[in-house]
Symmetry: C2
Subunit: 359 residues, 2 copies
């Protein structure tokens, strides 16, 4: 069976790597000529809203998924006329708009940081009085890796902030003094079968994920699964969903969701019995889900910007290199390393060794 | 870096799957249009001795390896003029001729079954008197999966046997009443670094490998490593080498070697810290070798002939499906399943479940 993927970046690449052993083939629709998934898939090089290209994708594949949430709604609509696109369109329209996303969480009884919609400068002033400062002004759509965000502190000029995000529809989110950032990778099959990976603790720097560590037996696991289940079932979801939280004491405040395989789940490649990539494919095909049990003590470190000393990384016992075939560029994710160790102490030592090489 | 592979079957496919995460790209030279590695590599469709195709391979890649031992010597010679082919040509010329192979073992003090060269019918008669019956007449070259072999029992007509293998240069091997068939996957890097996987026990039926089980702590491990080291160092070998033995009590009788990744090492995909495929690539690139430590209790079951109920296989906890993208055909290896369990008992139960599905 041939699977279509909108987007040909590293997530598409890792989906293909996970899918060939299941007997699948892949076609990616991606405008960039040097897409890093292209060497291991057919590559339709066109814009995501190119109707002829979408028609070609629909005719050559049996199921379509995507690797980013800003897929044009019109593209999904066109594809849905002749085949099935998963995760479903309502998940996409929810996830690509921070306001819709937050309202869904609220509606489902999932805690969030205080937030308010912002349509204009006057609205921003109202939002500040409602949410308080410090707060973060975030564009409703098209933000990722810390882009489209502006921190506002007491005394800051609101007009400058409003201009800095481009005067587009936004939300203002109150600052949360969180203990940790955690995320859960959840998966729901076409058959309705559910599976959840252990929570991961995530460390961001400059808005970009740096390290995710699998939390094997965390006291927040049950609550996170409960929240994820509410979202999956409400949206009649199919595929992998990532749900990010701020953990504050016993509380989990939902920050955002991603209707796709997610960077905070890359540790599952060596750290779980079945990777998030394989389970996403199983889910959208209605196949039985694979075990999400953790293997050993696992973590993932992103490789960002420069190409590291790969020889040194490969010399580390229990480290696994995953390069994406992308040219190094400041701030760009060009790969990651997963570590799987026999104990938490060994994992901590392994992470120190990786960080030392990346310094 | 771009790696060339002579042959585009499942071994090339699994090398590519292991190599992309290392940042490698792949080109396969393979005459079949529907080569199962083709969807995930550039495909030069030509005969292995096509000089123009070999020139194209040499110009687009930086290192070449192969997935089968009957690669024409002339092809390797031509490629070696402009780049490096690993494993080295002497390993290839040894492995593709059973007589050379057995003589190498003998020269290195590695025990074998009794054997004798056969050039003609008179030679066969002499070989029988030397080796005894029952015995197996095997063509010196081009035999695999039980092809090119003829069992001779007392009273059998030697001329019929000689005709049945096509009257080509052969060896006669005495029958060995072995306890088990085992193999070791060994690897030697361009830098001289050595690594050995745990022995695997192999079960064949009709000359085709059916099941390989990782032997975590077998008393023959040291002897097997010693024998493998002698071969690796004698041949100044680079890459993965598989060495198959008959185990008779405390003895290991070398049966044959394969200068490539090998079916009896497929269990390493989930059953070892680093797979044989990744370590073969690391070796031919002179990169540090990855850990060969076993993970849990692992085994591999080949999928031969018909496509099994893949849905049932996927529903098995701890089973991992590896399909090759090949059309089912009697006697054809179309995939395998690896199992990784927490104990020998669990592995035995898991194997029973797999066999039940494949019945």
């Amino acid at each position: 069976m041939k699977i279509g993927i909108l987007g040909g970046g590293q997530l598409a690449r890792m989906l293909a790597l996970a899918g060939y052993p299941l007997g699948l083939d892949f076609v990616v629709l991606e405008p960039a000529p040097d897409a890093c998934a292209a060497p291991l898939a057919e590559h339709i090089q066109a814009a995501y809203d190119d109707e002829a290209a979408l028609e070609q994708l629909a005719q050559t594949t049996e199921r379509v998924t995507y690797e980013f949430e800003s897929v044009p709604a019109s593209a999904v609509e066109q594809l849905n006329e002749s085949l099935s696109v998963y995760p479903p369109a309502n998940a996409l329209s929810t996830a690509r708009d921070r306001n819709n996303e937050k309202n869904l969480f609220r509606e489902l009884g999932i805690e969030t940081a205080p937030f308010a919609e912002v349509h204009d400068l006057a609205g921003l002033e109202q939002a500040v009085s409602k949410v308080g400062l410090p707060a973060i002004l975030k564009t409703r759509t098209l933000g990722y890796d810390g882009k489209g965000q502006q921190v506002i502190r007491p005394g800051d000029d609101l007009e400058v902030a409003w201009r800095s995000i481009g005067r587009v529809p936004a939300i203002l989110e109150g600052f949360v003094a969180f203990d940790r950032e955690v995320s859960i990778i959840a998966v729901r099959s076409l058959s309705g079968e559910l599976a959840f990976y252990p929570l991961a603790e995530n460390v961001h720097q400059e808005g970009i994920l740096r390290v995710s560590t699998c939390l094997r037996q965390d006291s927040h696991q049950t609550l996170a699964e409960d929240y994820a289940r509410r979202v999956l079932e409400k949206l009649d979801y199919v595929g992998v969903l990532a749900l990010e939280f701020f953990q504050v004491g016993e509380h989990l405040l939902a920050n955002e969701m991603a209707p796709r395989v997610h960077n905070s789940g890359h540790w599952t490649l060596e750290g779980a019995e079945t990777s998030q990539f394989e389970n996403h494919l199983r889910a959208i095909l209605g196949l039985p889900l694979g075990s999400t049990a953790p293997l050993g003590h696992a973590a993932m470190v992103n490789l960002i910007g420069d190409m590291p000393e790969t020889r040194s990384l490969l010399a580390l016992k229990n480290a696994h290199l995953h390069l994406y075939g992308k040219a190094p560029r400041p701030g760009r994710k060009i790969g990651h390393v997963t570590l799987r160790e026999v104990s938490a102490d060994e994992l901590s030592a392994g992470l120190s060794r990786v960080h030392k090489i990346l310094e």
